[in-house]
Point group: C2
Chain length 228, copies 2
């Protein structure tokens, strides 16, 4: 059985959520924190052997009990950038892991089917990103806001997470990035940067990223819709 | 006062909504059809002098009373493509119109502020598209789904509607397109194609396009949030 490690960078402050005492991973959705929704989706798989959560110092010190209740879950300190958090978490992934998934804590509505597609591809040696077709026309603008190009929408995908990698592919990319002083905002981009082939697998429209208060309203509606 | 004409292409079947007897512009949101939400937002402005709605043959024949209740509203037959619908509607816009706005019936949550920004720019002679920053990373893929490029997200905008034009700019572009046999899916693209400068004005994240049943759930949540 494929041995899966999951990395969840959850160090973000969520500044676009507006001022508030609750760090983004702990925002409530359907009565549970965003981070817990994510954790539960991965922990329900028996082939997930390790989950490493990168947390802000504040959250590390006040980590709630549910975060410690499954022995497969460990925590590390996040960094100033997402790339640092993933790097710290990757260092805590045991060498026996075959596949590493990286998933944003801000995407609590990830479905088992999307996770399965990512796992399947990575277990077959591919580096992949869950992604969906782009609904709106995408325009490229210059500094003045003048539209300078309209890329063919049918060739565009909106990237989500999970991203999934054969463990050695992700480790190799991060080692090289560390040596070169590169901090990636995106792991798939990092693998591609060093010549790795990265492709998309089908994500899900409801696998939205919680960025603004309106997104939380939307997520509540989607959650109700799913569970009713 | 600027004399504004609004074109609403509402001929779409909404095939992605799944099978059902209700044409997309007549889908209910908060107890009112999508199309009515759109109409109301424009008709509340006194400088909107004409609204031309392009409808499918089926809807033209069964048009509800509220569609006929404001004398500023007229209807025309839509075409097989969105471009045909806009062209038919534009032919019904009186010559006195200074500014023409084009707005999708599938965007019922358009706000007065977004409409105002579009009007203001077009009244000043600019061709504009309401647009928002792109939240997700956008990937460009080839036919196999391999990621071939990651365009700089900060230069990308997701286009919405309204699009707004000085009337003569839109007419000139459509006349030329008709002469050349070009059918545009997008009016801003058409104006740009013939050398016109088109720029973006700030849209709104909640001005979503209703494409799937999940979008309708999301729109209900956003509407409740707005009115509560």
């Amino acid at each position: 059985m494929t041995r899966i490690a999951v990395i969840i960078p959850a160090g973000g402050s969520g500044s676009r959520m507006g001022p508030g005492a609750v760090p983004k991973p702990m925002l409530q959705l359907g009565g549970e924190p965003l981070l817990r929704h994510c954790l539960d989706r991965f922990l329900e798989r028996s082939d997930v052997r390790w989950v490493v959560v990168a947390l802000s110092q504040e959250l590390l010190e006040s980590a709630p009990a549910w975060l410690r209740s499954d022995p497969r879950v460990s925590t590390v300190a996040g960094g100033t950038e997402r790339g640092h958090s993933v790097r710290n978490a990757l260092a805590a992934v045991p060498a026996e892991a075959d596949v590493v998934l990286v998933h944003d804590a801000a995407r609590p509505l990830v479905s088992p089917a999307v996770i399965q597609r990512c796992v399947q591809a990575a277990a077959a040696g591919e580096s992949v990103v869950a992604a969906v077709p782009v609904v709106d026309t995408i325009q490229e603008v210059d500094d003045d806001g003048t539209i300078v190009a309209t890329p063919d929408r049918h060739r565009l995908r909106a990237a989500q997470t999970p991203q999934a990698f054969p463990a050695e592919a992700l480790r190799a990319a991060h080692q090289r990035a560390a040596a070169e002083g590169v901090v990636a905002t995106d792991d798939a981009g990092l693998v591609a940067r060093y010549g790795g082939r990265v492709s998309v697998v089908e994500g899900a429209p409801e696998n939205i990223k919680i960025t603004t208060p309106a997104d939380l309203v939307v997520a509540e509606a989607l959650l109700t819709c799913r569970t009713s």
